[in-house]
């Protein structure tokens, strides 16, 4: 039987699909009987979803101009 403090250390391998089959079975069995670990897994999934939704910023006008100038210089040397 898996303990909760073991499950929280295996969760990344579980979510990344790199957990050995036997551990995966023990992990799933534990989840079926443990509300605390089910919440933990839900929260980890929600965390990952939120991380994937962090909005990107945009490039500043000055930096953009400087880079396009660098591109023009590079082009001349080609």
């Amino acid at each position: 039987m898996m303990d909760c403090n073991e499950l929280v250390e295996l969760i990344t391998d579980y979510l990344e699909g790199s957990l050995a089959a036997s551990d995966r079975t023990r992990f799933d069995e534990h989840l079926r009987i443990c509300d605390g670990c089910t919440s933990y897994l839900d929260q980890m999934r929600a965390t990952l979803k939120a991380l994937g939704n962090i909005p990107a910023g945009s490039v500043g006008q000055t930096a953009r101009e400087r880079l396009l100038n660098a591109f023009r210089d590079w082009k001349k040397t080609q």
Partner: protein, 210 residues
């Protein structure tokens, strides 16, 4: 971007099409600056690093063999420039040493105090289970205020964990690409990712249940 899109963009770049380069800058520059910021001491240094990386990209365009995606190649160049800059500023140990140290320290995903000890009937089980994040945690998490907090949390991670989490979970690169970009072993990437994710969840728990 798919491999076909990469190849098309690459050939336009090699032909000197400025709009192709503009497209690349618009898609990647701010992400690269955010990434580089984790290695160096301020925003200006991060901008310098990325500017230098773009020059490196142009110089390497014709030699690029397409073994990785175009964007992960660019992230890799940025990582190398950022590591060089950080070493030159001599404020930190080399990145590879930081990564080894962060991955080898003894560290628990969740504080041991939150589990029952060996004197209890259920040692190793939750004494203090995760606190609820409310009725609609996903909606709550996507609010601007929470997003800003999340970004702040990731910026507070140790450098190697921050870099791995950014590439894997914010940018969505496969673990093998993360290894290549940062020049880290698969094991280190796995451990660093686990530590970073555990810390971020823990910090969000504190924030959302304060």
């Amino acid at each position: 971007m798919t491999k076909a899109q990469d190849e098309l963009l690459l050939s336009r770049l090699r032909d000197g099409e400025e709009s192709a380069f503009a497209q690349l800058i618009d898609a990647l520059h701010s992400k690269l600056v955010r990434f580089a910021r984790g290695f160096v001491h301020d925003e200006a240094a991060a901008e310098d690093v990325v500017q230098e990386a773009w020059i490196g990209v142009l110089d390497g365009l014709h030699a690029f063999e397409g073994r990785s995606s175009l964007s992960s190649w660019i992230f890799g160049i940025t990582a190398n420039k950022a590591k060089t800059r950080a070493a030159r500023d001599a404020r930190t140990a080399p990145f590879s040493a930081l990564a080894d140290r962060e991955a080898s320290e003894v560290e628990c995903a969740v504080s041991p105090n939150r589990f029952l000890d060996s004197s209890s009937e259920w040692p190793g089980h939750w004494a203090q289970p995760p606190a609820s994040w409310g009725a609609r945690p996903e909606e709550h998490l996507l609010q601007t205020e929470t997003m800003n907090e999340l970004l702040r949390i990731t910026e507070g991670l140790p450098a190697a964990q921050r870099a791995v989490l950014f590439l894997r979970d914010v940018e969505g690169y496969e673990p093998s690409a993360v290894c290549n970009i940062l020049d880290l072993s698969e094991t280190n990437v796995r451990v660093l990712l686990h530590r970073a994710r555990s810390k971020v969840r823990g910090a969000l728990e504190v924030y959302l249940t304060r």
